[in-house]
Symmetry: C2
Subunit: 375 residues, 2 copies
């Protein structure tokens, strides 16, 4: 239901926009006037990772706003639209990249590989760093007006922050190889910026969509909130000791459960930022359009971190699963990141709080259950 | 002749070493005792760039010292020796890399691509950064005891130093893409170091060998000291204005010349460090063997920079070419880098001054002329 409402509003916005291509304010921040060509196309945008979760959401919104989008992704197209062109392309094919980027106004580089397995280091380096270098070269060659790069809070790292809330000035010293790939790619972006390419670096928080939030099998939400997902994750990391310990709990319970994670060393519950994919997409489009964003670096975070202790009971109620506490080795993941800079400079305002996300996810679950089909 | 002397001394060292595998001091620093296996092999060393100028010099010295060397290079082998194994391998073949690194005690990653053409960015990124990631993965997988990485003074950058002499604490902010690739690779090395791999980062100065120093066609020396080489370089960079200006000078002279370069903006002559390839090789082997080098970062520089104003007259005399002053756009390249840390901590002492190099190069030229063959 909420999904209907959401897309209806988008559609409404679409119509308003095509009829009155003027400056207007919605969702708390300003949109910018685009000069349109004879076919009503505002900007030509290249978007990497367009078949992914965040990229797909961005692509839909860009099309709704009248832009022409060329999506680049390893996966096949998820969108059919007169102004959408899909390039299914491994980044090795640099010539194809150059062709795709030719004539583009902006390049949104959102695509990335995420893994925390050392065996994936080389592939992740290739996808996240090497591909960024190729795209920067292609963007410079094509004379694009702005290059927006999706970095990550893992560059800091938030889990071992020197001060909180973590601002954009916090030293970058990633603990994960994933975070390292983002740091190295940032340095590439900054180098091309010094050479004259206009860039924006956005450091994404952990991002989820409402259709995965209450799904025990989802990539992000599963290991974060669900006992079964956590056991699977620990097993895949080779942490059999922890996996076995959690399995014992599961056996005693006799079934699945939701979990509040605590750090074994400090006995504190987890606390971290979890953004709604639609807010993250909003932030990317804002970074693409806002004049002041030029050459900026922004945390694209939520206003408040999610306190697992407070939120998990609500999620347990929404799923009907029992709730238990589990302790994980080391200190609790507990951080707070500041989104003040992007709010102050670009007028960013996230629309969805975590309670909103839970409520919408719950309604989506009911809707799916009633319609017996995937939305 | 000097080359003969040089290799004779090396050979003498070899015999001493095989007969008495004990601690001894030569060239002002300490060598370390190696435990040898039944075949007299001290260490198993993997060396990238083994067919290159510096790598080749290192390989020869390692073999002389009784080590077993596996060289990895795009180019074919330049050495035949019972303890030398060559892997001619593009870095794409990661499996071949893993095989080569298996069983190695140390990995000396010296190979790199050098270019200052933006069109080479992607290839240089691949050779200098991506390959370093693969090698680090391979080294970790193989459990090598130390990973020595050849970085560059261009990471600082020396040409826009905030203070001089440039020490290892100087902020890294490369102006060239080549320097950027070295900075990014350093960050990869430091990440793997944090994960438990023992590493050494050496920041190489500009390095030359005596057989290229007075050769107008050589890659490094040609554009640095010779008018014709400078014209060719400027042409290849697309700096036709400067190339034309220099060509006018050459036409007026009626032939080739040696040049003292000045900065147009500050009217100062160039001054920079130029190391002898044998000293650079010594530094690498020292970094490989010295216990205190573990996880260190060192400028592997010469004691004093080369003052072009003073040295070019000597080179002109050695070549019999006339000497002229040429002004280049911007400020003069003028820097001084400190090698105090590696001298203090590891006892490094370069053996060859720039006047030594000129004298030896001149004798080599005479020797070549007399023997009519390449040494």
């Amino acid at each position: 239901m909420i999904v209907d409402t959401f897309w209806q509003r988008k559609t409404a916005q679409h119509h308003i926009f095509l009829l009155f291509p003027v400056c207007y304010s919605l969702n708390g921040y300003k949109e910018y006037i685009y000069n349109r060509d004879s076919e009503g196309v505002a900007m030509k945008i290249v978007l990497t990772g367009s078949a992914g979760r965040i990229g797909h959401t961005i692509a839909l919104q860009l099309l709704v706003e009248g832009h022409q989008v060329t999506g680049i992704d390893l996966a096949p197209a998820r969108i059919e639209h007169a102004h959408y062109h899909h390039v299914q392309c491994p980044f090795e094919q640099a010539e194809m990249l150059n062709d795709a980027v030719k004539g583009a106004d902006v390049l949104l580089h959102i695509g990335a590989m995420m893994s925390w397995h050392p065996k994936d280091n080389a592939a992740m380096f290739h996808a996240n760093v090497t591909a960024t270098q190729w795209l920067l070269d292609a963007a410079r060659g094509a004379g694009v007006k702005r290059f927006v790069f999706a970095s990550s809070g893992e560059v800091y790292p938030e889990v071992r922050a020197q001060f909180q809330p973590v601002t954009e000035d916090h030293p970058r010293n990633p603990v994960s190889f994933y975070g390292l790939t983002k740091k190295l790619a940032e340095d590439l972006v900054l180098f091309y910026q010094q050479q004259g390419l206009e860039t924006v670096i956005l450091r994404f928080p952990h991002t989820q969509s409402i259709d995965e939030l209450l799904d025990p099998d989802s990539f992000f939400s599963g290991p974060r909130f669900f006992l079964d997902g956590k056991i699977r994750q620990m097993r895949s990391f080779g942490n059999d000791v922890v996996a076995d310990k959690l399995q014992t709990v599961r056996d005693r319970l006799g079934g699945p459960a939701m979990i509040v994670q605590y750090g074994e060393d400090d006995n504190l519950p987890y606390q971290m930022h979890i953004a709604d994919v639609r807010d993250t997409a909003d932030g990317v489009i804002l970074a693409m359009t806002h004049p002041r964003a030029a050459n900026g670096i922004y945390n694209l975070g939520t206003d408040e971190p999610v306190a697992f202790e407070d939120m998990l009971p609500v999620m347990a109620q929404a799923t009907g699963l029992p709730l238990i506490d589990v302790t994980m080795p080391g200190k609790a993941v507990r951080f707070k990141t500041s989104n003040q800079k992007i709010k102050r400079e670009l007028g960013y305002q996230p629309r969805f709080t975590f309670p909103d996300m839970i409520a919408q996810a719950a309604r989506l679950t009911v809707y799916r259950h009633n319609t017996k089909e995937s939305v």
